[in-house]
């Protein structure tokens, strides 16, 4: 019971930790792509971490805003819609494996909340429920822009769901299982047998359809601000709006995790098998900690000497000095600790946990890379027109996904 609840809670907490980093990435990425600075004001004792601290006042602001329910809105549906969105977004994470299963005496212990033999179908089933949140928000607000946004969102999500599910059938044929752990296992640690090499067309279609499913530019017609104010969440404020906002980002994190799991090897570290990682876990962790210490130490020197041309006249002026001191102390501490204790050797369960930690790290790295990909696409491409969106979905992507399926099945049968 305890392990089960931990298995459910830990991934959830992990996503909620990735969330502020992702939002920061989005705001900062957008700023640099548009040649501006982005968030750089909020600070704690002058420390801004390049705008990362901004998320904290943003959350506080959202909590304390007035929560408005329009007079003619349907109160029940209006209130329940953001909860559906957020709950659905968080539920999908249950079947994603975070690391190789641990081999215990009692049997193998999978590092995922739910090991279902219908794994990937579970994700699609739950994701298809997510449309209700958007639709009901649009309908319940009693606002024509919201309604149009909700209608657009539902038709778009239904259209692209087909391509999304068809594009991965090739992967399912190759791995012979619907269970995500088995799909990751089948890709092995060899970079060249990951599915984006074996299924390039499927990978491309999946990424495009995933962007469309999460309602992001160039597919963000449900909230096209030039036409529909803010689409389905026009009337929402305060924490209800925050829930929609968070659900959008959690959905993108789920989509990124799926891209990494299905096509980019999931928790597999390139060219390092799980056995190899377990054998050398101590050495790898030892040297990466040493390297991090050295980098912190070396990085603190130019940071200390850096002189900003901007003068604020408050605590922000000494930010680089404070950060360099912290970095210096961390660097010294890491180096001293590692040098004093010598090389690490893990055995048995400890080695497995250390290897799993490395795999979780690489998986989160992959997730963040695809999150960045979402940001990059959003601020690079212009929005589609509605008929172009439908044409692309039904007349280009669906036939291509079918073609991919037939070719994969044919080749698999012949080989």
């Amino acid at each position: 019971m305890l392990t089960m609840s931990l298995k459910i809670i830990i991934p959830f907490v992990l996503i909620l930790q990735i969330l502020p980093i992702f939002i920061w990435m989005e705001r900062k990425g957008a700023s640099y792509i548009q040649d501006r600075r982005g968030p750089n004001r909020a600070n704690i004792f002058g420390i801004r971490l390049g705008g990362l601290v901004h998320t904290l006042p943003d959350v506080i602001k959202l909590i304390f805003k007035e929560d408005i329910i329009p007079t003619r809105a349907n109160r029940f549906i209006y209130t329940i819609a953001p909860f559906i969105s957020m709950a659905v977004a968080c539920m999908t994470f249950a079947v994603i494996p975070w690391a190789a299963p641990l081999a215990l005496e009692k049997g193998s212990f999978a590092l995922q909340a739910l090991e279902m033999n219908v794994g990937i179908l579970y994700i699609f089933a739950i994701a298809s429920i997510g449309v209700y949140g958007v639709m009901l928000a649009g309908w319940g607000s009693n606002n024509k822009y919201s309604l149009l946004g909700g209608l657009r969102a539902s038709s778009q999500m239904i259209s692209y769901e087909l391509t999304l599910s068809l594009s991965i059938v090739g992967v399912l044929i190759l791995s012979g299982s619907l269970e995500l752990g088995a799909i990751v296992e089948s890709q092995s640690s060899n970079l060249f047998s990951w599915n984006f090499i074996r299924q390039p067309l499927g990978c491309l279609l999946f990424i495009v359809a995933a962007v469309a499913e999460t309602n992001r530019t160039p597919f963000d017609l449900p909230e096209a601000e030039a036409e529909l104010v803010a689409g389905y969440h026009t009337e929402y404020s305060s924490l209800k709006f925050a829930l929609f906002y968070m659900a959008e980002y959690v959905n993108m994190i789920v989509a990124s995790a799926l891209m990494a799991t299905l096509f980019f090897g999931g928790w597999q570290v390139p060219f390092l098998t799980t056995d190899l990682l377990r054998e050398h876990a101590g050495i790898i962790i030892h040297y990466s900690l040493l390297g991090m210490g050295a980098m912190a130490l070396l990085g603190s020197i130019p940071l200390f000497l850096y002189k900003s041309r901007v003068h604020y006249g408050d605590a922000r002026d000494t930010e680089t000095k404070k950060l360099s001191v912290i970095l210096f102390i961390v660097g010294i501490a890491l180096l001293a600790w590692r040098a004093a204790s010598g090389e690490l050797f893990f055995e048995g369960l400890a080695a497995q946990i250390a290897a799993a930690a490395l795999q979780v790290g690489i998986f989160i790295g992959k997730i963040l890379f695809f999150c960045w990909f979402f940001v990059w696409v959003r601020w690079t491409l212009p929005r589609f027109r509605y008929d172009q969106l439908m044409q692309l979905g039904w007349k280009a992507m669906l036939p291509l996904a079918l073609l991919n399926l037939f070719v994969t099945a044919g080749v698999y049968l012949l080989l």
């Binding site: 219908v118 179908l121 089933a125 298809s128 639709m135 009901l136 309604l147 539902s154």
Partner: protein, 165 residues
């Protein structure tokens, strides 16, 4: 397990009654979603994972979304949703039809003599369901496929009748 069954079955019944009692069609559709979810939960307690997921994926996730979509497109006002009493003969026919369906189900369930305690390995998994579909029940499967294709083509013909292509 038994408690779970009673909760899910109760939820399914209450929401099914709610479907036909609400005047606002959106509420009816949403109650139907709850019914489908509790049915999926019942399938899960019967070790039919694949069936449960497909139930949510196709019915709750696709068909009912289209229902809600259409209801929203119509955007009915309150005065268009007046209470309507169907004619007496309709009520009698519908009650008879419902009674026959219930009797058929009752008969089918009471005749069932399988071993539900000792399930074979991988019961209800996607592999076993797929194998059954494509071997033992392949005729029914193909007929259902043809039926769906006919419906699809019919919808297309009806939609395109006024257009000259």
């Amino acid at each position: 397990m038994t408690i779970l069954f009673y909760i899910l079955a109760g939820l399914a019944l209450i929401s099914a009654i709610a479907v036909i009692s609400f005047r606002q069609p959106v509420y009816s559709a949403l109650s139907l979603v709850v019914t489908l979810f509790s049915l999926a939960g019942l399938y899960l307690t019967l070790h039919a994972e694949f069936l449960a997921i497909i139930q949510i994926l196709t019915y709750a996730g696709a068909i009912l979304i289209l229902f809600v979509f259409i209801i929203m497109l119509l955007n009915l006002n309150d005065d268009e949703l007046k209470e309507q009493t169907p004619a007496l003969w309709r009520r009698i026919v519908l009650a008879l039809l419902g009674g026959f369906t219930f009797a058929g189900l009752w008969w089918g369930v009471s005749k069932f003599e399988g071993d539900v305690k000792n399930l074979p390995q991988g019961f209800g998994s996607i592999i076993n369901s797929g194998k059954l579909l494509f071997t033992e029940y392949v005729l029914a499967f193909e007929i259902a496929g043809i039926l769906l294709t006919v419906a699809l083509i019919g919808a297309l013909v009806l939609a395109k009748r006024r257009l000259k292509i």
